[in-house]
């Protein structure tokens, strides 16, 4: 019988909410897990250290965390492992020796989408680059991937670079401002604030340009329904949290994987190819909260049903 602790530092965004629900649902279906303690709030690395220490105090058997930073949490993680607690980082990596990492590959995420966009505009042109929150690890990783793609396309030029703060209203305002300046551009790369960008084009009546977003329900719906939109969604499943729980249970049961690091590589769904359109059509889930990624499961890792993740109930 295991009690698992969860630590997460961003609250109130659809992706993170899905991650938490995936964790709860997976913990529910794992027969060996009897308790789940979730520390889930908006805070910084120091706050996450506090939560981790509290989880250690609570005597959990494993900790699954979405780290705010790869380097900042080592003291608590090392203390946890010294106490025999299994540590699994999801979504992003940690540098603590002995911790398991089950991560979405953020660098690859950005690279994949950017490369598609640059190819889409014919390898040359001007793009708008809409990032996340300045100074946050995930944003930095994605920036590296974006730059890698940019380096491969010397004729692509970034005309506007801006931080949306991963905030819908901000992204929309910024796009309106860009449209209003009249400086032409040929494509938009977003760090997941995507459907409002499409809306901004539609509402202002500006001709659509190719747009890259994430696999959020809202954007995936738009890829199918918005006339004249050429776009691509790069998967970035929040359900990686559920996979993290599964991995932790495996390790606790003595089935540790050979490597400490498991990268979940993103996939790109575009609506410009037949295959892509089929995937997108299959992924539609109009009832889902528009901010939730549609990839609610990770085959091979998670065992819960769609109903279970939506119910968002963990073990008592």
């Amino acid at each position: 019988d295991y009690t698992i602790g969860v630590s997460n530092t961003v609250q109130g965004n659809g992706w993170r909410e899905e991650m938490i629900c995936a964790m709860r649902a997976q913990a529910l279906v794992e027969p060996d897990v009897t308790g789940l303690i979730v520390a889930h709030r908006n805070t910084d690395s120091a706050g996450q250290l506090e939560d981790l220490n509290n989880l250690i105090e609570a005597g959990v058997d494993a900790i699954v965390l979405n780290p705010s930073n790869p380097d900042a949490l080592n003291s608590a993680l090392e203390a946890a492992m010294a106490a025999g607690i299994v540590v699994v980082a999801v979504d992003a990596g940690v540098t603590a020796e002995g911790a398991y990492i089950l991560s979405n590959n953020q660098e690859e995420y950005a690279y994949l989408g950017a490369r598609w966009l640059f190819e889409q505009i014919g390898g040359a042109g001007d793009v708008v680059y809409m990032r996340g929150i300045a100074g946050v690890s995930a944003d930095t990783d994605r920036h590296n991937g974006f730059r890698r793609a940019l380096a491969e396309f010397p004729n692509v030029n970034v005309v506007h670079e801006v931080f949306t703060g991963w905030q819908q209203d901000q992204g929309k305002q910024q796009m309106f401002d860009f449209l209003a300046t009249g400086i032409p551009f040929d494509g938009v790369w977003t760090s997941g604030i995507d459907n409002v960008i499409v809306d901004a084009f539609v509402e202002s009546g500006a001709p659509l340009v190719p747009i890259v977003g994430a696999d959020n329900a809202g954007f995936v719906g738009q890829l199918q329904s918005v006339e004249g939109l050429a776009g691509a969604a790069v998967t970035n499943p929040g359900s990686v949290g559920g996979a993290g729980i599964a991995l932790a249970v495996d390790i606790l049961n003595g089935n540790a994987p050979a490597s400490n690091v498991v990268l979940v590589d993103p996939v790109l769904w575009d609506n410009t190819t037949e295959d892509g359109r089929a995937t997108i059509a299959a992924a539609q889930n109009p009832d889902l909260d528009p901010e939730w990624p549609v990839s609610t499961q990770i085959p091979g890792w998670t065992d819960y049903t769609l109903e279970q993740i939506i119910a968002c109930e963990g073990p008592a």
Binding site: D44, L49, N69, D71
Partner: protein, 313 residues
Amino acid sequence: MTALIRKHAWVIGLAVLLALLLALTKLIQPNFGAPGLESLARSALPFAFATAAMAVVVIVGGIDLSVASMMAVCAVTAAVLMERMAGVPALMIVLAVGLAMGLVNGALIVLTRVPDIVVTLAMLFVWEGMALLILSSPGGSVAPWLSGATRGPFLIDGLPMALVIMALAIAIVWLPIRRSKLGLAIYATGSDPLAAFRSGVAVDRTKIIAYGICGLFCAMGGLSLAALTGIGEPVPGPYLMASVAAVVLGGVVLGGGKGGLLGSIIAVFILRIIRTILTLMAIDPNVTTIVEGVIMVGVVMLGTALTLRGARR
């Protein structure tokens, strides 16, 4: 004696509440002991400095919305400097940077005659931007002795090093000031600036100095952040609202002139241990937010009701 108790009733009440909460923690988690206290003290460290910083400016009749941003600046400054130079001089520089930022805040308030809350709201963005300019993404590193300094017990088991550092750092800065005429001037300015001016207090200078002290405490807060995480993060943490809450909970009156640092620091521990308790009880984290809000509002309501009752009598 009774007068003394009445004067410090609020602080005593807070201390009793803290003791009760500690007992409750022990009840919920019988294993809670020295390591638990240590991690409690460590997690309270940045909050305590932020709260001390906020308390000083609230006492002088102002408020500083830029504390979290200044802490971020100091944290990244420390992380960047300590990669390149010895720890001690870097530490001195960080303290000086904090002091300077505080003095700038104070000077701007005095010179522009714009209300404190507005100036520091603007400076919140300025310092936040500054932190990003110094370090555009989390990084740098901190002298190992600094990280080590906050860990483990001091002399005896169960007396966390972090607590000792916090108490010493705050006491070294604040006690001499509190005892001096500067301390009086700070309270006088907060209580009634016109009367203070007429009593010969250099009101403007006092205000600037108080903001300087605030900056100094923010530097300590930033250093403690860097020490805890081992790196510097340019994004301000949740210290602004938390410090305002702790200051008010601690009996410092918004508007100035009343209260002290001790109550505020105890309030920090109360707020921290409530989070620990809620985690130990495996309360749904969303409910945790509600509980924290209710406790904050409830305790302040209770306190206000009690003091009003007292005043009526």
